[in-house]
C-alpha cells in the first residue's frame, strides 16, 4: 500500500501537468496558428445613477480584449465626461463614467460610451430618478420595506397554525401538500426572476443561466446535507421532526427572501419601480403564504410560540438585509446568486416535506397530495398576479 503511494501521486498529477504543457504550447509556439476570426470588444453599462447635475454610469469591460473608453454620450449626443480611474479597461475591469448633465426627473435617457475603434455601447433608463443618498433615513426606509414584505406577512401566515392544528389527518396532508405547491411555485419564481436579472443586468460573459443552474443544484445538495444531519440530531429527542422540517422551510424561504429583498432594494435604488402602496400589498399577500408553509409541519408537534416567532424571523428578516444591501450597493451577480440559492433550498424543502409525509402516513392519500399541490400553485399564481 505504502509503496504504491508515489505511483498514485504521479497518476494524479500527470494529467494536470500534461494539461499545463498543452496550455503553455497553445499560448506560446502555437498562438499564431490559432489566430483566426475577428475578436470583438464588448463593454457593458452595469449601472446608471442620476446625481445632482451629473449622470454616472458604471461600465465594465466584458469582452475578450482590453478596451479604451474615449467618448461618452447622453441620448446619442456627445458629452464631455470624466472617467475614473482612467480610460483603459482591462478584461472585467470597471470604471465610473461621470457626465456633467442637467437631467430632468422622470424623463427617459440613453447613456452611451464609445471605445477607441468607434464602437458605441448604450443602455437605456425608463425614467431618471435621483440616486438615493446613503443616510439614516434611507436605511430606515429600506428596512421598513423589508420588514413589510418579509417579516410581517410571514407572521400573519403563522397565525393559521391553530386552525391547521385542529384539522384531521387527510386535511392536514392536504395542507402539507398545499405548502409543497407554494414552495414549488416560489422556487420556479426565483429561477425566473434570476434569469430576468441575468438578461437585463448581467453581461453574457458571466453565463447567467448556467450560473443559476449551478447554484440551484449546489444549494439543493448543501441543504440536503444540512437537513440530514439536523434530522439525525433531532431523532434522539424524538422531539419533533415537524420542527426540523419547519426550520428547513424557514431557512429555504429565508434565502429566497434575501434574494427578493436584494431585487426590491435594487429596484428602489435604481428607480426602476415606482414603489406604490399597491406593490407592497401585493408582496405582502404573496408572502403570507410563506408563513402558512412554515406553520403546517409544526402542527403535529408541540410548538412553542417563541419557536414559531423564531422560525418566522429566520424566514423574514433576510428580506430586510436584502433591501439594505440591494438599495445601497446593487450587484446583479449577488442578487442572482441568492435567488438561485433560495430556489435550490426551496426545492430541497419540497423533497423533505414529501419524505416526511411518506413516513408519517402509511397510506399516502393521492387525492389530498395532488389537490394540495395544485391548490398551492394556483393560490401562488393568483397572489402573484396582484404584484
Amino acid at each position: 500500500m505504502t509503496s504504491s503511494k508515489p505511483v498514485l501521486a504521479i497518476s494524479a498529477i500527470a494529467p494536470i501537468v500534461l494539461l499545463i504543457i498543452m496550455i503553455v504550447f497553445l499560448l506560446g509556439p502555437a498562438s499564431s496558428f490559432l489566430q483566426f476570426g475577428v475578436v470583438l470588444p464588448e463593454v457593458s453599462i452595469e449601472k446608471i445613477e442620476f446625481v445632482e447635475n451629473e449622470i454616472q454610469a458604471t461600465v465594465r469591460n466584458t469582452g475578450p480584449i482590453d478596451v479604451d473608453v474615449v467618448l461618452a454620450d447622453v441620448n446619442d449626443r456627445i458629452q464631455p465626461a470624466a472617467i475614473e480611474p482612467d480610460t483603459s479597461l482591462k478584461r472585467f475591469e470597471t470604471a465610473l463614467v461621470r457626465i456633467p448633465f442637467d437631467w430632468n426627473e422622470g424623463q427617459p435617457y440613453e447613456i452611451g460610451v464609445t471605445i477607441s475603434d468607434g464602437t458605441r455601447f448604450a443602455k437605456g433608463i425608463d425614467a431618471a430618478f435621483p440616486a438615493l443618498e446613503p443616510n439614516v433615513d434611507l436605511f430606515v426606509f429600506l428596512g421598513t420595506i423589508g420588514f413589510l414584505i418579509g417579516v410581517v406577512p410571514i407572521m400573519i401566515g403563522l397565525l393559521w397554525y391553530p386552525f391547521i392544528k385542529k384539522l384531521g389527518k387527510n386535511t392536514f396532508n392536504f395542507f402539507l401538500a398545499f405548502t409543497m405547491g407554494l414552495l414549488v411555485f416560489l422556487g420556479i419564481d426565483a429561477v425566473i426572476e434570476a434569469t430576468e436579472i441575468s438578461e437585463n443586468h448581467l453581461s453574457s460573459i458571466f453565463n447567467g443561466e448556467l450560473l443559476i443552474a449551478t447554484v440551484v443544484i449546489l444549494s439543493f445538495l448543501a441543504l440536503y446535507g444540512i437537513g440530514k444531519q439536523l434530522t439525525k440530531k433531532i431523532e434522539f429527542s424524538k422531539l419533533s421532526q415537524g420542527l426540523a422540517i419547519s426550520l428547513m422551510i424557514a431557512i429555504g424561504i429565508g434565502f429566497h427572501n434575501l434574494g427578493e429583498g436584494l431585487a426590491v432594494g435594487a429596484a428602489i435604488a435604481l428607480g426602476e419601480v415606482a414603489l406604490s402602496t399597491f406593490l407592497i400589498i401585493g408582496f405582502a399577500t404573496h408572502n403570507t403564504t410563506e408563513g402558512l408553509a412554515i406553520a403546517a409541519p409544526l402542527t403535529k408537534s408541540k410548538a412553542k410560540i417563541f419557536k414559531m416567532i423564531g422560525l418566522g424571523l429566520i424566514a423574514g428578516v433576510p428580506a430586510i438585509f436584502g433591501c439594505w444591501v440591494g438599495g445601497f450597493s446593487f450587484s446583479p451577480l449577488f442578487t442572482l446568486i441568492f435567488l438561485a440559492i433560495g430556489a435550490g433550498a426551496i426545492f430541497q424543502v419540497v423533497l423533505s416535506i414529501f419524505q416526511y409525509m411518506k413516513e408519517k402516513s402509511d397510506l399516502l392519500s393521492n387525492t389530498s397530495l395532488f389537490a394540495g399541490i395544485s391548490a398551492g400553485l394556483i393560490v401562488m399564481y393568483l397572489t402573484s398576479v396582484i404584484i
Partner: protein, 355 residues
C-alpha cells in the same frame, strides 16, 4: 459516519471558496483617490472634480491629431502648370488612392480611412475655366477605386463604369467647366461605403475673370459611421468633430469672406449650415454670378455645394454649425473668431501668381 462529516466539510470548504472567489466579480475594483483631483469645466458651465481622465472632444486641448483642418481649409492644389502651344493652360495632378490607413478621426477614436493622397477629404483641386485638367490616378488600395468628377466632360472620363483595380493607373483628362464649386469622389460600388470611408474632395473651377478678392476657406461637410450601423457617429466640417470649436477660425471684421461649402455626408438625407452674427449671399454650385439669396441658413442634400460670401460687422466669437442639432452635438459645430480689422489684407488670394 466520520467520512460523511469529512466529505461534508470538504463540501462547505468548496462552497466558501466559490463564494469568496465570486467576490472578484461582484466588488468593483477599489479606486484609490490619492492624487489631487483635477477640476473640469464643461462648455455648458457645469463643474466636476475628478481624479480620473477627462474625455472631452468638445473642449479638446490635447496633442494635435493626424489631420489638420486649419491647413486643409486654406490649401488648394493648383496642379503642375504648363502652357500648351495653343495657349491652353494644362494642369496636371497626381492622386493616389489607398484604403489601409488608420486615422484618429476624433480624439481617441481610430478608424480605417480610405484616402486620396493620404487625406480625408482629398486635396482641393483648383483650376480656372477652360484649363485642361489632367489627373494621374494610381490605385494603391486593396480594392478597386475610381475618380468621378462632377462637371462637364466626356463619358469615358466620368470614372463610373471603369473602376481601377489594385495597382492600376488611369489618366483622367477634361477641360475645367463650368465655373463653380464641384466635387469628386470614388464611384465604385458600394459607393456609400467608399464615401463613408473618406474617398472624396472639393473641386473648384475659378472664372477667367477672377472673383472679388476675399479670405477664402473650404468646408467639406462630412461624417463617419464608425460602428457600421448606417448612422453617423461623428459629423464635422472638415473631418475632425468639434475642431473649429476648440480652434476658432480667426478672421477680420469688415473683410470679405468666401466659403466653399461641399456636403458629402452619407446616411443622412439632408445637412445644413447656419451662420451666426451675420448673413451670407449664396451661390448654388457657384455657377451663377448673381446670388440666389441672402440668408443665414443653407439646406443641402448629398453632393450639394454652395459658395458663400459674407463679412462680419462686429468683432467677437461667432458659431457656425448644422442647425440640425443632432449633427452639431455630434461634432458639426464650428466658430469664427472675428478680430478688429487692422487693414492688413495679406490673406487675399493673389490670382496673378497662379498662372
Amino acid at each position: 459516519m466520520q467520512s460523511t462529516i469529512q466529505s461534508a466539510k470538504m463540501f462547505y470548504i468548496l462552497i466558501s471558496i466559490v463564494a469568496v472567489s465570486s467576490l472578484y466579480f461582484v466588488v468593483p475594483s477599489v479606486i484609490i483617490a490619492e492624487e489631487t483631483p483635477t477640476t473640469f469645466l464643461t462648455h455648458t458651465g457645469l463643474v466636476i472634480q475628478t481624479t480620473g481622465d477627462v474625455i472631452d472632444p468638445i473642449g479638446y486641448d490635447g496633442e494635435a491629431l493626424d489631420f489638420d483642418p486649419d491647413k486643409f481649409m486654406k490649401e488648394f492644389d493648383y496642379g503642375e502648370v504648363t502652357v500648351l502651344d495653343d495657349g491652353t493652360v494644362l494642369r496636371e495632378y497626381y492622386i493616389t488612392a489607398r484604403d489601409d490607413q488608420i486615422m484618429e478621426v476624433s480624439p481617441g477614436v481610430f478608424y480605417n480611412v480610405w484616402t486620396f493622397n493620404d487625406s480625408v477629404p482629398g486635396p482641393t483641386i483648383r483650376a480656372t475655366e477652360g484649363d485642361l485638367v489632367r489627373i494621374h490616378f494610381t490605385n494603391e488600395g486593396s480594392k478597386p477605386h475610381s475618380l468621378h468628377f462632377h462637371g462637364i466632360h466626356k463619358a469615358e472620363m466620368d470614372g463610373v463604369f471603369e473602376s481601377i483595380g489594385t495597382g492600376g493607373k488611369f489618366t483622367y483628362e477634361f477641360y475645367a467647366e463650368p465655373v463653380g464649386l464641384h466635387l469628386y469622389h470614388c464611384h465604385v460600388h458600394p459607393v456609400e461605403e467608399h464615401i463613408n470611408h473618406g474617398l472624396y474632395g472639393a473641386y473648384i473651377v475659378d472664372p477667367k475673370e477672377p472673383r472679388e478678392p476675399a479670405d477664402e476657406f473650404v468646408f467639406v461637410l462630412n461624417g463617419f459611421d464608425t460602428d457600421f450601423d448606417s448612422e453617423n457617429n461623428f459629423y464635422a466640417a472638415n473631418t475632425i468633430p468639434f475642431y473649429y470649436q476648440h480652434h476658432p477660425i480667426e478672421i477680420n471684421a469688415n473683410q470679405n469672406i468666401r466659403a466653399y461649402v461641399v456636403n458629402i455626408l452619407e446616411f443622412d438625407a439632408v445637412n445644413n449650415f447656419h451662420l451666426h452674427g451675420t448673413l451670407f449671399h449664396h451661390y448654388p454650385a457657384g455657377t451663377d454670378t448673381v446670388p440666389s439669396g441672402y440668408n443665414d441658413m443653407l439646406t443641402m442634400s448629398q453632393g450639394d455645394r454652395q459658395i458663400l460670401e459674407f463679412n462680419y460687422k462686429y468683432p467677437g466669437l461667432y458659431m457656425f454649425h448644422a442647425h440640425n442639432t443632432e449633427f452639431s452635438e455630434k461634432g458639426w459645430v464650428s466658430s469664427f473668431l472675428v478680430k478688429e480689422n487692422t487693414g492688413n489684407f495679406d490673406t487675399q488670394i493673389e490670382y496673378d501668381d497662379i498662372i
